[in-house]
């Protein structure tokens, strides 16, 4: 974009700023005088046409009216460590409720004195997720480390050994539930979705119709009813005396639901692979599974990282729906925290906080996916 072009939309404005900041921000005035950078940039990009001037002023007005009250409520007039009475007297947010109720929000109904255990389990889990994201650690020992961490988490959460009191998993709640449900559902759903997507392209009619049927059934039903079915109906099909844990049933429901959506994303990638790649693999006498795992999937999955991560994020947020089958995820625990009559008026603060927690995890996933995409598509660069 040359510097005398006239961007009309804000998108073009942003693009011109991002792509060529050096050109856009320096204006050469007659006589070789260079204007101050921010001033020149604003004149060039924000006030260059009548329409842009109006839009700029309008945006400034909106920000002027919206931002100060927000900052006042969030920070300036907020009560951070006060009592509920001080909160009632104040005009701002009551963050005291978070300070007072954070244990309940994070760990739900887990026995209060034992809550260091879910805390440690979550810390281990998040640390391990972080480690798994680093390329240098993609070594065989990572699988061993995961096995150890999962065992450690199980011991911490359930207890019953090493002098830890036993805590049955209907007492679990809050962040551990949200994290474990979403991470396990994603981990299980991903390979399943690949099989479903491959099955949907299979030349065997039985496999194909089974996969199509499953995907269409899951996509055609709201997650809430899938969870209900998993929780209420599924036990009816089991033989007398056999019960499957409520948490596990919700996990199964969430996994199957996510897998169906993921499968369609993966299928998009499979369809984008040119026919020549299949033919070259065939001509080299690679078997179906060699062709699929060595040639097709590595290319197909790289192409669909954005929609796959989209689905991961969606799955993470969907865990908050398990409340309808009586599980205490982070959001449910937060809701419970607002039921205390003393703090009841301050539910907004609790939901802002819960939202922030969800946002932190989802935003991390989003950023990570951008890095992953760049790394995975190195070979496309010339």
């Amino acid at each position: 974009m040359s510097k005398d072009s006239t961007p009309h939309s804000t998108a073009a404005l942003a693009a011109s700023f991002e792509e060529e900041p050096s050109q856009a921000s320096v204006t050469s005035l007659p006589g070789g005088v260079t204007a101050l950078k921010p001033f020149g940039w604003a004149k060039n990009n924000l006030f260059n046409t009548k329409l842009n001037t109006v839009l700029t002023l309008l945006c400034c007005a909106i920000l002027w009216f919206a931002v100060p009250p927000m900052v006042n409520w969030l920070v300036v007039n907020a009560v951070w460590l006060g009592t509920s009475d001080e909160c009632r007297a104040a005009a701002g947010a009551c963050w005291s409720i978070i300070v007072v109720k954070h244990r309940l929000i994070f760990f739900g109904t887990y026995p209060f004195d034992e809550q260091w255990r879910p805390f440690l389990a979550c810390a281990l889990f998040v640390a391990m997720l972080g480690v798994s994201g680093v390329r240098a650690f993609w070594r065989p020992w990572l699988a061993g480390a995961w096995a150890l961490v999962l065992v450690a988490m199980g011991v911490l959460m359930w207890g019953g050994v090493f002098g830890l009191t036993h805590v049955p998993n209907d007492k679990w709640g809050g962040l551990p539930i949200t994290l474990m449900l979403s991470v396990f559902a994603i981990t299980l759903a991903f390979p399943l979705s690949i099989l479903l997507a491959l099955g949907r392209q299979s030349s065997l009619p039985a496999i194909r119709s089974l996969c199509v049927g499953f995907i269409e059934l899951m996509r055609g039903v709201p997650l809430v009813s899938v969870l209900f079915m998993a929780s209420v109906m599924f036990p009816l099909f089991l033989p007398e005396g056999v019960t499957i844990d409520k948490l596990l049933r919700a996990l199964a429901g969430l996994t199957l639901f996510t897998a169906a959506y993921l499968a369609e994303a993966v299928r998009g990638g499979l369809q984008a692979i040119p026919k020549g790649q299949y033919e070259a693999a065939d001509a080299l006498s690679l078997s179906y599974w060699q062709k699929t795992t060595l040639i097709i999937l590595p290319q197909a999955l790289r192409m669909v990282i954005p929609p796959i991560v989209n689905q991961f994020i969606s799955c993470f947020k969907d865990t908050s729906l398990v409340t309808i089958v009586g599980l205490y995820d982070l959001l449910t625990a937060a809701t419970v925290a607002t039921t205390d009559p003393e703090w009841r008026p301050f539910f907004a603060e609790v939901y802002v906080f819960a939202g922030l927690m969800f946002w932190i995890f989802c935003f991390s996933m989003s950023r990570y996916s951008q890095w992953l995409e760049r790394m995975a598509n190195r070979y496309n660069r010339r």
Partner: protein, 247 residues
């Protein structure tokens, strides 16, 4: 089956739905023979060559490669594909693998060769196609001519007895055609059995033992280059030669 024939097609027929792509194609190729297949587009020449390693399935007749008949039997298909290398018009290199990985993948997974051993062989072939310095680049970083030479080296790494070329120079810029043809001529000189669909008549004239001319799914004429170029039997061949040799 005739004496030392490595590829034999007997009355091969193929349809795409109602379109009759191959009509009773019969053909015998001896060991070490270089066959050039030419003809107008849609004449079935690519279809025929792709039937030889079962990228397309024929519906009637018989195809026998190195004593094994091609049927629906997966074992037979695998056996034949291991003996037959193929080079495509659009190279079809694996873009997510480096040049060296493109060469070593099939020998490692299909032939079970040790990585170090096949890497040495692969580098030998890359030297032969004159691009050893590109071994660790991705295909997307190479020119078309270089990519096609990698594709030839990739096929050779499987130690095939027969090489099929499906219009190997048609997708190349003119200045890159020669570097690929040079590699093919070297290969021919070494005695490789080659079946080559191409419009490069200079290559056909100097390298081919026999030239096959196809039109409308049948073989119209086959013979030595001398006979084919100097004294074509059918009117259809004369017409085709007139069209492509005019310029």
């Amino acid at each position: 089956m005739s004496e030392n024939a490595v590829i034999e097609l007997r009355k091969v027929g193929k349809w795409y739905n109602s379109y009759h792509a191959l009509r009773d194609v019969s053909l015998t190729i001896r060991k070490g023979e270089k066959v050039v297949v030419c003809g107008p587009s849609g004449s079935g020449k690519s279809t025929m060559i792709r039937c030889i390693n079962r990228l397309e399935a024929h519906q009637t007749g018989h195809i026998i490669v190195n004593g094994t008949e091609l049927t629906d039997d997966v074992k037979a298909i695998e056996k034949i594909r291991k003996q037959v290398g193929m080079v495509f018009q659009n190279f079809n290199l694996f873009p997510h693998l480096t040049v060296l990985q493109n060469l070593t993948l099939a020998p490692i997974w299909v032939r079970g060769m040790a990585k170090s051993e096949i890497e040495e062989i692969a580098m030998m072939y890359l030297r032969r196609v004159r691009i050893p310095d590109q071994a660790h680049k991705f295909p997307g970083q190479l020119s078309g001519g270089q990519q096609q030479r990698v594709a030839i080296a990739r096929a050779l790494c499987m130690r095939p007895e027969i090489m099929l070329f499906d219009e190997p120079t048609s997708a190349l810029d003119p200045e890159m055609v020669k570097e690929v043809l040079d590699v093919m001529i070297e290969l021919a000189d070494e005695g490789m059995t080659m079946v080559c669909v191409t419009h490069e008549m200079g290559f056909a004239r100097s390298v081919a033992d026999s030239i096959i001319f196809m039109a409308e799914g049948t073989i119209i004429e086959s013979g030595s280059p001398a006979q084919f170029f100097e004294n074509p039997k059918s009117e259809r061949t004369r017409q085709f030669l007139g069209q492509i040799l005019e310029h």
